[in-house]
Point group: C2
């Protein structure tokens, strides 16, 4: 079966519509999908950025907000920029890895994006993340404890290093048939690529 | 009649497919189009960039080349990165303004993009620009002389200042019903916006 990787970062605005769209589109096309949470912070830091480029370059940031509003309106979902932006996504990324090991990571990831960019919640708050885990029917305390284990911490670090090694510089990204695709706008093309003969 | 502005810079890779696509799509939708050449250099300089972000950030640059190859392949046109990249686009921008005054600026603009990103020519070379003007059936020498007049120089400078004032930070950009859209990927949405009730 054709497969593609979906690389996402919870602080990333354009990963939100991508995360909401990708599963249905992959299923439609018969592409199996690997969800790969990672952190952009260390990759941006290597570019000399200590903040989101959307904050560093205000004109780019203003366009991003309006563009996300328009794109999300077409999708029929709300968009708001959470404060602070970008959110600290470390905890959510670690919990996503726990969830992906246990089979509920995709639902968790979509729920985090909806909480963050739909409801404007601060996903760095353990109470916000716990509530999402609880709403998925899981006992949050042991999940959050496992998210802080050495194994999960180093797994997220390894994913981030792998992303950088593979040339990923932004989110969402897709790797499909050995090629890198960047951005929510390339989701469809990346999935089609997975099926090329 | 609904109208939209197409803001483009001759050094910009993604302005190439946009320039080749925009006229037919605007005509199909009944949107009248205003072609607005401008320079990104002064806008990038205000960001602290003395070079293309695609050169400053090599991973981004590698993705841009491959992405343009894929996008242009879908369009059925060749793509190659000219050397040097980015091209010095000042002369072509000025000649485009002359051409737009005289009714051949759109054809000239498409021809410059094809020469630069299809054939890999250096569009900073007056001989390259002269050949394009000549191929369009115009006498190149007086056109190039007029392109270096104070009136045209200041018109291009004014366009660039207007772009910055209107929040344009990259190319191609579209202004449609008072809203800014950035990127070849937003061409269709920008044209649709012009027709909103």
């Amino acid at each position: 079966m054709a497969s593609a990787e979906f690389w996402y970062e919870f602080a990333s605005t354009y990963s939100y519509p991508a995360a909401l769209r990708v599963a249905a589109l992959a299923a439609e096309r018969g592409v199996s999908l690997v969800w790969r949470p990672f952190l952009l912070g260390p990759i941006f830091a290597a570019h000399g950025w200590r903040d989101s480029p959307f904050n560093i370059y205000p004109a780019k940031g203003r366009n991003m907000v309006r563009d996300c509003e328009r794109q999300c309106a077409e999708l029929g979902v709300p968009f708001r920029l959470p404060a602070p932006f970008p959110a600290m996504s470390l905890l959510a990324g670690r919990v996503a890895l726990v969830g992906l090991q246990d089979g509920w990571g995709e639902d968790f990831s979509r729920a985090v994006y909806r909480a963050e960019f739909g409801d404007g919640l601060d996903i760095s708050e353990p109470t916000v993340v716990s509530a999402i885990v609880g709403n998925l029917g899981h006992d949050a305390d042991p999940v959050l404890a496992r998210a802080q284990s050495a194994a999960i911490k180093s797994a997220l670090r390894a994913s981030t290093e792998e992303a950088e090694r593979r040339g990923i510089f932004g989110a969402p990204s897709f790797v499909s048939a050995g090629e890198l695709f960047w951005g929510n706008d390339r989701l469809e093309q990346a999935l089609s690529w997975a099926k090329r003969p």
